[in-house]
Amino acid sequence: MSVFQYSSSKHGSVTLISIGGSLDAETAPKFYTKLKGEIDKGVKKIVCNLEHVDYIASAGLGVLISANDMLGKTGGEIRLSAMNDKIRKIFKLLGFINLFKIFEDDQKAIDTF
């Protein structure tokens, strides 16, 4: 069974979400529910820290794409930060590296919002 960890904290108008474990077909619905919950509460600026994500499948990427779309409709955005090498390589191979706004660390992603 896939492991999925989620925590969030507020940094001014930005919500920092830290994810760990797998973002796959099994955990994607939980991830979606959590993100949707934040957006439904009125959050517009989200930084998603992927440092502890060890696996991402199309279902996990789909959640990020969908969340960015929902946020875009309210003038918001999702940014990704602290991606580890394995996940960065997957993003690069699949061509997602130039689609999402990706930052080296949380602070840079938060400060430039």
Partner: protein, 139 residues
Amino acid sequence: MPDTLSITLPRITSRLDYLRETIVNFLRSHSIEESIISRIELSVYEAVVNIIEHSSPEYQNRDIDVQCAVREDEILVIVRNYGDKFDMTSVVMPDLELHYKSGKMRGLGIYFIRTLMDNVEYSYDDMINTLRMSKIIRR
């Protein structure tokens, strides 16, 4: 060390960790590059998830067979499942940028497989869907 690995799985997502782990360990035991292992791991995962999510409930009790073979110049993965014909290779490859802009949550599995593997072929015979995926390696 065997050159071919065979795994039989039920059609449930909670067994996919086992599939991934077994494939990764098998390829590592053959000293395959980590970047190639990641490609195979993800492609096999997407192919099996696709079967689990799209196959008819009447075939729910039919297992999925996965075979992974390390050859001199390629890694060949064959995924077989009993059921109605479903040729995922016939699905139009999405334009990634348009897909991203549309905000669609699903429909990227085939994009992943075709992007990560060098060759993908499908056949259907006697109610068996067979997906053959290969990745060229240099050893």
